[in-house]
Symmetry: C2
Subunit: 213 residues, 2 copies
DNA sequence: CAGGAAAGATGCGTGCACGCAAGTTTGCGT
DNA sequence: ACGCAAACTTGCGTGCACGCATCTTTCCTG
């Protein structure tokens, strides 16, 4: 299908995107998020400020995207990896939990920074919307193509639930001045995610039921 | 509870907000959305441009809010009006359909304009997120307070579904130059809404079941 | 391999969002 | 009725997002 080897153009684009992500995160960590201007990020990545905005629509997006990276694709893949003998609801839940707990070392450092500034926090939460399209695709695959509409709604609901889980997880953040304490805010993230996704299970079961008939 | 009579301060604030909404929509209709600057809206409403931004975080929000107004509250009320003898899922669905089809005459004219400009279209779709909090509240009321978490997730899912319904409804919009033709883009909106909300019904039933035990 | 088309990078200009620090109005206790 | 405190408005300054026109790079086709 999409087996065409990348091509120089595309590779350069990804390299630039990567460089911007990297530069944004590094600078934000180094001097604090407020003291990084778009101009600085662009310069550090070796492109013009205008080009920066061809890749990211806001200053926050670049920083956040260094952490979230290709999480959307990985979630979709993780769902697809679960064979049809596990309930769809479980497959999705486990895939989500898996991908949100596998945050690398660097992500931890960055998350402290992100949860501090409201603007970054919001941008981070907004990334959950991005998991909808790929999720909808894999769900639709399991639902027979009669349920394409249903798949989309379920995927969007999952995205919404994940957002809520992250919100409540980040809730009681208050202090953290310069260095920041290494506290895990609310309950453990996996629990929050499972709790938030649980109410949707019946909807998944019903949808799945209808295709297995 | 909140029985304190408004008070002058609060009334003035609402008046200003109203004036801004009104001015924004009127000007946008009169000369087209692109030829309205924040400065113009502020002037028409008799406040400074800076004050405008104390009420609305973006130019689009003011225009859109003239149409969406207090839809959130009305949806919540419409759900609350349904007594406990109808399924929660149905109550919510009907309440949503009811409130989204009762668009006044003026809304129709405005909607044409909104669907034209991508920025406005996005702002309009973003308003669906606003129905979550009040919806969560009324749902929680029906679910016994053990399910506050569940209520929030369900409300967010409904918001997501409504958004999808609106998106697919607005999909094939292309023309509309000056006056605009009065075509209903896709299928009728109520159908889109019902279709989008249907997959969530099992989740509502399950939640409702658990409290009736 | 030549040459043109398509995609991307860049500079410039405009309007916008928002923090901050006054100035002004409203509300309330005495 | 007075006056203070809190809420709101406003002007200013900064950085930002993005449309448009132009120049450069990559790609494809003959």
């Amino acid at each position: 299908m999409t087996a065409t080897p990348p091509g120089l153009r595309e590779r350069k684009k990804q390299a630039t995107r990567e460089a911007l992500r990297e530069a944004a995160l590094r600078l934000a960590v180094e001097r604090g998020p407020d003291r990084v201007r778009v101009e600085d990020i662009a310069e550090a990545a070796g492109v013009s400020p205008r080009t920066y905005n061809n890749y990211f629509a806001s200053r926050e997006q670049a920083i956040v995207s260094a952490v979230t990276a290709d999480r959307e694709a990985r979630i979709a893949a993780a769902v697809a990896a679960r064979t049809a003998d596990v309930r769809l609801a479980d497959a999705v839940t486990e895939a989500v939990v898996e991908q949100y707990t596998n945050t690398g070392e660097r992500a931890h450092e960055a998350l402290l920074l992100i949860t501090t500034r409201p603007a970054l926090r919001d941008a981070f939460l907004d990334t959950t919307a991005g998991i909808e399209p790929p999720l909808a695709a894999v769900i639709a695959e399991r639902l027979d193509d009669t349920g394409a509409h249903t798949a989309r709604v379920l995927a969007a609901s999952v995205a919404a639930a994940v957002r809520i889980a992250l919100e409540t997880w980040l809730r009681p953040t208050g202090d953290a001045d310069t260095a920041g304490t290494l506290v895990v805010p609310s309950g453990p993230l996996p629990d929050q995610l499972r709790t938030a996704l649980a109410p949707l299970a019946p909807a998944f079961d019903a949808a799945e039921q209808r295709t297995q008939t």
